[in-house]
């Protein structure tokens, strides 16, 4: 037994000190990462991340300090009063929860950052000194209050900067991981500085009496290893789950974005097609109406007694003029559709088909339609306007779906094939619908011809214009058994003959 009042010189185990630094870095990194997850969460996800994050970070903060203490050895045996140790962990969790909560708010005012920094810093200082108080040994310690004050100031400064950094990094992408790591190192340095200042603030003297060892535990080197291992596992798990969650989140976001875009494109296309049809109707109806009415007026002038030949002549001349105008309107529309594709890019038709099938997924499901595809894996790209080709395929598929809606006595099957030959890529869309009937197949492609209730009758005529403008052909044929086949071909982009 060392006589009472003898100063005791402590020594540090450099390996354990180093490990405490590693824990500090890991805990800091986890904190920066977790803040982002808590901020991204809503409702349950927010509560879960906040709770688990605080427990995990609490382990990190507490373990760093406790490991730091274990690194310190005195010439007398030291055991720890475990209720105080548990309390110190609870303080760590509360400090961590406060930090995560504050850093995850929408805004961080300076007042809030300073206030939270002070509370959190005091919490960490409390945790540190609680850990020291838990020491049970044949020694007393005195504190150098200047150093204690310095350690508290360091704890507050660390907490403040940690909050700021966590807030700054929380929405960051993974690319800034190394900057995060750098910040974590700075934070860890601050934590260690705080801890080891706190340790230096105490001087130990032998008490000469046996300590009360009830409710106390001694920590063997094995125990130290255990604490460090568990801590690093917890922090590693926290960081890992945070990364996984972030990736998952980003992916979900991207998916939602893609869906919105696709939906928008579909609406846009439908609108422009509808508007186009409406304006064509308006443009053509104007002169056609004038033709019919002028011819009628002409007849009426001739029927008057006596016939008014001058008025009849004027009316007949106007009939001719308006008929010519109607023709010009049509020529203009055709030119518009034909000259449209200035954007010629390489388009993979298989890819377009898959996109369109996704687009039409809802209707396919609603119509309880079985889809099969046979897309030639080696189908070469074609040159063209992606959006227009999408529009053609979408039109063919929606037509096929519409043709099958009333079918009840045999399966509703949609089959899409691509075949490549030496010069072209051919796409066929087959349905088991009501078929083409006995009508002239070619009239399907005339503007305003429709068999659909509420249809504009523009889909196939525009589709054909688009395919022809791309140097291909679009045609229809009855399918053996039930339904119809619509096919088009387009020249290959590589121009192989």
């Amino acid at each position: 037994m060392i006589p009472a009042g003898m100063p005791l010189a402590g020594s540090y185990d450099p390996l354990v000190v180093a490990l405490s630094v590693v824990i500090a870095v890991a805990a800091s990194y986890a904190a920066l990462d977790l803040a982002g997850r808590v901020a991204a969460g809503k409702g349950w996800s927010f509560a879960t991340w906040l709770t688990c994050g605080s427990l995990g970070m609490g382990v990190g903060i507490w373990s760093m300090h406790f490991t730091g203490m274990l690194a310190f050895s005195l010439p007398v045996p030291v055991s720890y009063y475990w209720p105080t140790v548990v309390l110190s962990y609870a303080v760590a969790v509360v400090a961590a929860a406060l930090a995560l909560y504050v850093a995850s708010r929408k805004q961080m005012s300076s007042a809030r950052a300073v206030g939270s920094g002070v509370v959190m810093g005091c919490g960490i200082a409390a945790l540190h000194y609680l850990c020291m108080m838990a020491m049970q040994m044949a020694a007393d310690f005195r504190f150098d209050f200047l150093l204690v004050a310095l350690s508290v100031v360091l704890a507050i400064a660390f907490s403040y900067s940690a909050l700021r950094l966590a807030f700054h990094f929380r929405d960051a992408k993974e690319e800034v991981a190394w900057r995060k790591l750098g910040s974590a190192c700075v934070m860890a340095t601050a934590i260690c500085a705080m801890h080891y200042t706190g340790m230096a603030a105490a001087t130990f003297t032998s008490s000469g009496t046996e300590p009360d060892l009830s409710h106390s535990v001694t920590v063997s080197s094995l125990g130290t290893t255990g604490i460090i291992t568990v801590t690093l596992l917890v922090l590693g798990f926290a960081i890992l789950s945070s990364i996984v969650d972030r990736r998952f989140h980003a992916q979900a976001l991207e998916l939602a974005l893609t869906q919105t875009k696709v939906e928008l494109a579909r609406v846009g296309r439908a609108t422009s097609l509808g508007e186009l049809a409406a304006s064509i109707a308006h443009e053509i109806n104007q002169p056609i109406g004038a033709v019919a009415n002028s011819a009628s007026a002409c007849l009426r002038w001739l029927a008057t007694q006596p016939p008014n030949l001058e008025e009849a002549r004027i009316a007949a001349a106007r009939t001719v003029r308006e008929a010519t105008r109607a023709g010009e309107v049509i020529t203009r529309i055709r030119a518009l559709l034909k000259n449209e594709p200035p954007t010629k890019e390489r388009v993979d038709l298989n890819e377009v088909i898959r996109e369109v099938l996704t687009l039409a997924g809802n209707e396919i499901e609603k119509g309880r339609i079985a889809v099969t595809t046979a897309l030639a894996a080696d189908a070469p790209a074609v040159l063209g306007d992606r959006v227009q080709l999408q529009q053609v395929i979408l039109n063919l598929i929606t037509n096929a779906i519409a043709a099958m809606i009333s079918v009840e006595d045999h399966p509703r099957e949609l089959r899409i094939e691509t075949v490549a030959d030496s010069g072209t890529v051919q796409v066929s869309v087959q349905d088991s619908g009501v078929g083409l009937g006995h009508e002239d197949v070619e009239q399907l492609f005339r503007p305003f011809f429709t068999t659909k209730r509420g249809g504009m009758g523009m889909g196939l005529s525009i589709s054909r214009s688009i395919i022809e403008a791309h140097g291909g052909r679009l045609w229809a044929a009855p399918r053996s058994g039930h339904g119809a086949v619509f096919q088009f071909n387009l020249p290959r982009a590589d121009g192989a003959a």
Binding site: S296, A297, E311, E322
Partner: protein, 136 residues
Amino acid sequence: MTEPEPLVIVIDDDAPTRETLSSLIRSVGLRVELFGSAQEFLKSEQLDAPGCLVLDIRLHGIGGLDLQGRLAAANIRIPIIFITGHGDIQMSVRAMKAGAIEFLTKPFRDQDLLDAIYVGLEKDRERRQREAEVAI
């Protein structure tokens, strides 16, 4: 007092259509006046002339349905026949509910328009007669 001869007013922003309608209406012996826009018509002296109005729905500036509303607000109860390049059901319902005589979609049969005009003129004449009797 002799009744002034009724007048058919045509408002359409397409000149050939206007002239065609003029020719058609004159061929059955009716008087016609043409306007290219609702504004022109509103500025004219013809607002309260006996007769009826053949009105295009889609006009630059004040549209056909708009004009119908304005005339009603000003208590000018001239019968209106709507014509349109492409009518939708909503529009026609709105026009008919607001008291239009007929809603014709181009191209329409000449006889349909003339029949509607006759109905409009007859309604206008009856209304004016009733009002004259009340005034007496």
